[in-house]
């Protein structure tokens, strides 16, 4: 801002970074994270820069702000408009902690196999194909229950009996690393 001293600028930025951290750490909606337009409304036009400053602070704690692109928007949509539609959320930067989930090992295995299978089918596969694939190792009843749960949790999406990678897997799972790890195991 015009006529603003360096001290005032720093205080203003710190205030905005604090606000951004609160918005991103505490859940506002059913789905975690905040949309770009919400951040813009709360932090101002320079919200992308503010997120950049927050990111450097989080980096020291092993976390980062992840930006997830949402479907839709035309080809000619500008960078700014796209950022407003995108969802921002904080994730663990590197998978360092031993256990960050109370999930049973076989449920995680099923999720891992489901995601890898869907990714290998270019991002979508019929629910029946996934069920048949999983049934080689798990009872059908368990598979139905597990798939419904992954859909509810956001790891997998479903439309017209076709499964696709859900918003949560897009945010949390490094898909390339998952496939590399599976192939290299």
């Amino acid at each position: 801002m015009e006529g603003e001293t360096e001290e005032e600028l720093r205080t203003r930025t710190e205030r905005k970074v604090k606000k951004a951290a609160q918005l991103l750490f505490f859940r506002q909606h059913r789905i975690p994270g905040v949309k770009g337009w919400e951040l813009k409304k709360a932090l101002g036009d320079d919200y992308v820069e503010v997120i950049g400053v927050l990111n450097s602070a989080l980096d020291k704690l092993g976390m980062e702000v992840k930006r997830i692109s949402e479907e839709g928007g035309g080809e000619g949509e500008g960078k700014e408009k796209r950022a407003e539609r995108d969802r921002f959320m904080i994730v663990l930067k590197s998978p360092v902690i031993e256990k960050a989930s109370g999930e049973r090992i076989d449920n995680v295995a099923m999720l891992s196999a489901t995601l890898a299978y869907i990714i290998s089918k270019q991002g979508k596969a019929s629910r029946k194909a996934v069920e048949d694939f999983l049934s080689a190792k798990f009872p059908k009843q368990r598979i139905y229950f597990a798939l419904d749960r992954y859909i509810k949790q956001g790891y997998v999406g479903e439309a017209d009996k076709v499964l696709y990678i859900g918003w949560r897997a897009r945010a949390e799972v490094d898909r390339k690393a998952l496939l590399d790890l599976i192939l290299g195991a």
């Binding site: 750490f25 505490f26 859940r27 975690p32 994270g33 976390m63 992840k66 959320m89 904080i90 994730v91 663990l92 930067k93 590197s94 998978p95 960050a100 989930s101 090992i105 076989d106 995680v108 295995a109 099923m110 999720l111 891992s112 196999a113 995601l115 890898a116 299978y117 990714i119 290998s120 089918k121 270019q122 979508k124 596969a125 694939f133 080689a136 190792k137 009872p139 009843q141 368990r142 949560r168 945010a171 949390e172 799972v173 490094d174 898909r175 390339k176 690393a177 998952l178 496939l179 790890l181 599976i182 192939l183 195991a185």
Partner: protein, 274 residues
């Protein structure tokens, strides 16, 4: 369509419809879009233009539909090339094979090593508490909101044993005798896998036995022992001394155990093999 009256056109339409269906199959099944020969498709259309002269509205609509479907396939071909050239592309067959070979533990480890969990917390703020209180205050008493929670109509509820007796479908003595017979059978066989106990030579009698067995469990005369990990259910007769106590004090719970004709057939096959 009027044009079908002309046998020459009918033949060509057949070819065109076959190609259109093939385009739709590629889109819905996600098969290789390069299975469609685009050049041949266009040549067929061109030939038809030359020889038959499309004039009617139906002809023109079909022509437009064919071009639109072809455009979708070309778009899919572009996407397919893009996917294959990306670093994400891995032969699905190879991956499927690998997934089948891996142990659940290895799959879970791969997931955890590529997982960056979202960090999000829930917190009730004083403002949110105030909103909750305002909602509570504005809410009508429960008995004034019956429409929001309608009771299921009587017709939807299942027939109980009393209903069957009342309708003279079953007599109380007949029912008691059947229950007793099932209990005697269970006592003779001891602890046994539930399906092995229920299933018999006919599917109908198996369902009847399952129905009667549910009464034994309900009355505390039989016990179900479930191993959810292995998906096994065992049934055993209860200790007679505790039956009444159990029936009086046990907290009611429902245990769904599925029975199906296919499952019964599989069981029969297994019995034959053994």
């Amino acid at each position: 369509m009027e044009n079908y009256k002309n046998p020459g056109k009918q033949m060509k339409f057949g070819e065109l419809f076959r190609l259109l269906n093939f385009c739709r199959t590629i889109q819905t099944e996600g098969t290789d879009p390069f299975d469609l020969d685009v050049k041949k498709f266009l040549e067929t259309l061109k030939q038809y233009h030359k020889t038959k002269k499309w004039k009617s509205l139906d002809d023109l609509l079909l022509d437009a539909e064919a071009i639109a479907e072809l455009a979708k396939i070309i778009e899919l071909q572009g996407k397919w090339i893009k996917d294959r050239s990306s670093s994400f592309y891995i032969d699905p067959v190879l991956l499927e094979l690998k997934l089948k070979m891996l142990e659940p533990q290895q799959l879970a480890t791969a997931f955890f090593n590529s997982w960056h969990p979202i960090i999000a917390m829930d917190r009730i703020t004083p403002q949110r508490l105030q909103e909750g209180l305002a909602y509570w205050n504005a809410l009508l008493p429960f008995d004034e909101r019956n429409d929001e929670f309608p009771f299921p109509s009587a017709i939807e509820s299942a027939f109980g044993i009393e209903d069957l007796i009342e309708l003279n479908i079953l007599s109380k003595t007949e029912f008691d005798d059947s229950i007793k017979a099932v209990l005697n059978d269970l006592e003779a066989r001891g602890r046994i896998e539930y399906h092995d106990f229920i299933y018999g030579d006919a599917f109908e009698t198996s369902v009847k036995k399952a129905y009667l067995t549910s009464y034994l469990v309900n009355e505390g005369k039989a016990e179900l022992d479930i191993n959810p990990l292995e998906e096994e259910v065992f049934i055993s007769p209860s200790n007679n001394a505790n039956v009444n106590a159990k029936a009086d004090h046990a907290q009611g719970r429902s245990i769904p155990v599925s029975l199906s004709y296919e499952d019964w057939l599989r069981w029969k096959e297994k019995q034959k093999r053994n």
